[in-house]
Amino acid sequence: MSEKILMKGNEAIGEAAVVAGCRHYFGYPITPQSELIEYMAKRLPQVDGVFLQAESEVAAINMVYGAASAGCRVMTSSSSPGISLKQEGISYIAGSQLPCVIVNVQRGGPGLGSIQPGQADYFQATKGGGHGDYRNIVLAPNSVQEMADITIEAFDLADKWRNAVMILGDGALGQMMEPVEFKESSSKPVEKSWAATGRRGRAKPNIVNSLYLQPDLMEKHNHVLQEKYAKIQAEETRWEALNTEDAEVIVVAYGITSRIAMTAINKARANGVKVGLFRPISLWPFPSQPLAELAKTAKAFVVFEMSAGQMVEDVRLAVNGAKPVSFHGRTGGMLPTPKELYEKIISVANGEGGK
């Protein structure tokens, strides 16, 4: 198991899910994540799992609801337009506190969009997407190895918190091949005393539901959810900081954009610019506290995204006006080049770029 193999990011997520004990997958094909559903179609029957290509994304997410209700480790995946279709089901999953893993290999939008890489679903992923007051844990890997590692972690977090975990990737990470190693994992499905698996001699049946017709009970349930989200925020924030100790300019980027940024940062460092990278790995909960700390020492921040500016709002909330926060983004499926990010870093380092 510990041999390095060359795999696409999409395939690595699939194998990691199997390593984590996921035996149920429901999905519907869409570029640029189709290798994932293809991988699960081949792989799950080999481990006596259930693979089902649903008739639509809406059907797939509701099958996830059903399997999760029965206590199974379950996953679905799609790309931007397909994830939009799943939002009603995701809200129901949140209301019913069901653990599951949802993968979004983002492409350019809005609408049917393009099939090239995008990061414009940040708002949808981190701020809700469906109706009601709820949060998904959102994790953003930036390499094929991390796609594998984060997938395993996602199943554990989902079970630990009875919450949906979304893996927010993009077409570039899904399509690229890199060496990946699948280590032995201690990740195992946990005993779920709440699952609807038959009464088994219990006095009361387990019911999985998100309907509370009495508003006071609905509010009480909302309080339960909010308390859980507060605990997740306190315990599950993840980020990586590279070369930030002496940095005057902090680049904030996640996913594939953080890789492109790193190429630009290395070049700027070689030219004597004190610049570092802050990479949120959990997009929700967002690592606001470490960013606020960095605002004490850095002179300026610059956010790079493949969107018109979404995560930049969370960065500005975290920095809270202490230092200027600039933004540079590409949209529609266009990837920024290291050259354009380098030039933006230099202009920010020179005190240009304003807010």
């Binding site: 390095k4 060359l6 399509q175 690229m176 091949m177 594939i256 890789r259 290291p338």
Partner: protein, 178 residues
């Protein structure tokens, strides 16, 4: 130092596989590698290309914009990627299908008659392997032993009978580079 390469041709010429073989060989040698396809609504006969990075440094962006090696298996690929090649870079041209010479004078242009050699060997499908041999000889990015190991252990694991022909094609490609 990382070597950044672009492999391009039309769909069906095996350009994606060429890139994967090189990336796999680099990985086996313990180098840092990445492979990234230009993917789109493609069809057979359309254009295909991939970016490959191999070297001793962690790979930042996997997308190559200023390659040190460009492999052009057909004319549209040469037209598209020759201008992006870094000065002093290596330009490998499949001269069986491309009649024009290189336009750039600040790069090292090498002609490899991939399809003609493949035909001589009796199987047109190995044209890409001829080019793999030429890339290894011209760039030195990986060792030929690593490439052969990838073919034997990964690509043709279940088809050992085709190993000999593919190795022949690779060695003929290497011989084109002197």
């Amino acid at each position: 130092m990382n070597q950044e390469m672009i492999f391009a041709g039309f769909g069906g010429q095996g350009v994606m596989l060429m890139g994967q073989i090189l990336a796999y060989a680099g990985m086996m040698e313990g180098q840092q590698v990445s492979w990234f396809p230009a993917y789109g609504p493609e069809m057979r006969g359309g254009t295909a290309n991939c970016s490959v990075i191999i070297g001793d440094e962690a790979v930042g962006t996997p997308i190559v914009t200023e390659p040190q090696v460009v492999v052009a298996m057909n004319l549209p690929s040469l037209d598209k990627f020759e201008p992006h090649l870094a000065a002093g870079g290596i330009l490998l041209i499949n001269s069986s299908l491309i009649e024009r010479p290189a336009k750039r004078s600040d790069v090292k242009a090498l002609l490899v008659p991939c399809n003609d050699i493949a035909k001589e060997l009796g199987n047109p499908k190995v044209a890409n392997m001829v080019m793999v041999g030429a890339i290894v000889a011209a760039s030195g990015v990986v060792k030929i032993e690593s490439v052969l190991q990838v073919l034997a252990k990964k690509i043709f694991k279940n088809k050992p009978e085709v190993m000999q022909l593919n190795e022949q094609a690779i060695r003929r490609g290497m011989a084109c580079i002197s």
